[in-house]
């Protein structure tokens, strides 16, 4: 569904963001895109949406060259920004304006999501709403477009605690076997239960691109009192509950993926992770 090949990208100031980056993403997954601040997560989303042009390499989204921003691609792609832009019109008029561009837009779904987010009036002006409420409206709209590709840049930023819970609920409702959802975030805990594939970006390369099953097949996430184990330890962190460990899963033990621990383990063991997952970088 999305393919990036040999992408090189830098901003005019000269710092290289991506250096020969390759990435392939398939439909039917909710990918979590992780990386340190300034790693280029938003830029990567923009390249895939045709909003930034790589210096070299090719970016294909839904079978189209992303840089051309053809209508055929855009009608099946939605880019939810971290800071959503809203025009000075009511929610009802926003739907009138933008829904006709999306063939699969479902108004019932939209209203249901708004209802879950406790936004009751369709006549409220978008610019009169708080940042969090605007975000809820645009998230609801984005999901109701039923586009095949959905990019979400820090979707839970600005949402209150109950809304984050509702967000997870509606995300589960909106995900399907065809849809590719790529969420760039630092709020790992908010989206932990949703993400079924992980992409980690570091220093211009993809360090890891693997499904949650693949990760837990190869790595073990444990909480123990002692750190004695015969499996190679990739990461260890002490906290009040004990020692949080990430080890290689040589005994094929089933454990639950902890994205935060995974991220730290990957950052500390780049070469070993590459060997384990055969990530192209």
């Amino acid at each position: 569904m999305i393919s990036l090949q040999n992408i090189n990208f830098s901003y005019q100031k000269g710092r290289t963001i991506f250096d020969d980056l390759n990435l392939s993403l398939k439909g039917g997954h909710i990918y979590g895109l992780f990386g340190k601040n300034g790693a280029g997560k938003t830029t990567l989303l923009k390249i895939m949406a045709g909003l930034r042009f790589p210096k070299s390499g090719s970016s294909t989204t839904l079978g189209q060259r992303a840089v051309l921003r053809k209508a055929e691609m855009l009608k099946d792609l939605y880019f939810l920004q971290e800071e959503v832009y809203v025009p000075a019109i009511s929610i009802r008029n926003y739907v009138k304006c933008y829904a006709p561009f999306y063939e699969n837009f479902d108004n019932e779904q939209f209203e249901e999501y708004l209802h879950l987010f406790e936004i009751t009036s369709m006549d409220d002006k978008l610019t009169a709403l708080s940042h969090g409420q605007r975000k809820k409206v645009i998230i609801s709209f984005a999901l109701a477009t039923n586009t095949k590709v959905l990019f979400m840049d820090e979707p839970t930023n600005g949402l209150d605690i109950p809304s984050k819970n509702i967000f997870r609920k509606i995300m589960t409702m909106a995900a399907n076997e065809e849809r590719l959802i790529l969420i760039s975030t630092h709020q790992v805990r908010d989206l932990h239960s949703l993400i079924d594939a992980v992409v980690i970006l570091d220093n211009g390369h993809i360090l890891l691109n693997a499904s949650a099953d693949d990760i837990t097949d190869k790595l073990c996430f444990k909480i123990t009192d002692d750190t004695s184990t015969d499996e190679p330890i990739l990461y260890c962190e002490e906290n009040l509950r004990g020692n949080l460990l990430v080890t290689e899963n040589t005994h094929h033990i089933e454990t639950k993926l902890d994205i935060e621990l995974l991220f730290n383990a990957v950052m500390l063991n780049k070469e070993r992770i590459n060997e384990l997952f055969n990530a192209k970088n």
């Binding site: 042009f53 855009l74 880019f79 832009y85 019109i89 933008y98």
Partner: protein, 234 residues
């Protein structure tokens, strides 16, 4: 290219900005009515009407793409599911047809209402409807609007001023170049060849050249707008 997408873009514009345009229309009608009423003849001069059409048309054209402020607006606009050519055509329609018609109607209506009000106070006054906009000045307006349309996507901020400055700089350069070339020609030529040159100049169909340059410029700047939109990043 899809006419449905162009229609959707226009509908989007009218829903988002229609009310603002109606307010502008009403304001222009009111101002022109007052100015027309206060003027001795009960009419605004032709040149004033053309100047207003010109000025407001250019200001409108320079704001039509207006996607760079606030942050996030560019992403919002560029990801609207319509191609770059459809977006250029929709905005071209708004600048060249919709807004010019709106302005012309507002100016004529204001002038008419002002004339009628003038007539109420001076029964001897006869209002004569007239159209101050000739084909020539409409073509000129369209050409300049196409330049400002390009400016609106080229410059991220203060597009109107920057585009105007570029045009002024271009004309200054052109005038200097023209003056120096003509000056050199006359210095180095004898009276007979100057007479011959005058004869050649007189036989040229200036109107045809003007129309050709106008059409070429109009097409060129619209093409440049499309190209610039294609390569706009967010």
């Amino acid at each position: 290219m899809s006419t449905k997408n162009i229609f959707n873009l226009l509908r989007r514009y009218f829903i988002e900005s229609g009310r603002k345009d109606i307010t502008t229309f009403a304001l222009i009608v009111l101002i022109i009515t007052i100015v027309s009423f206060l003027s001795v003849s009960g009419n605004i001069s032709d040149s004033m009407m053309v100047f207003l059409l010109f000025l407001m048309g250019l200001l409108y054209a320079s704001r039509i793409f207006n996607i760079f402020q606030p942050a996030g607006r560019a992403i919002h606009y560029l990801t609207i599911p319509a191609s770059n050519i459809e977006k250029t055509i929709a905005n071209g329609f708004l600048v060249y047809i919709y807004y010019n018609i709106l302005l012309i109607v507002a100016l004529l209506l204001g002038n008419f209402l002002g004339g009628m009000a003038h007539k109420l106070l001076n029964p001897e006054y006869h209002y004569i409807f007239y159209m101050p906009f000739s084909l020539d000045n409409l073509i000129l307006i369209l050409v300049f609007e196409s330049i400002f349309l390009f400016g609106s996507i080229y410059f991220k901020q203060r597009a109107a001023i920057k585009t105007a400055l570029v045009i002024i700089a271009f004309f200054l350069f052109f005038i200097i170049l023209d003056t120096s070339l003509v000056g050199r020609y006359f210095i180095h030529s004898n009276p007979e060849s100057i007479k011959e040159a005058e004869h050649i100049f007189n036989s040229i169909n200036v109107d045809l050249i003007e129309y050709t340059i106008s059409i070429f410029s109009f097409v060129f700047f619209n093409f440049m707008t499309w190209l610039r939109l294609r390569e706009t990043e967010a």
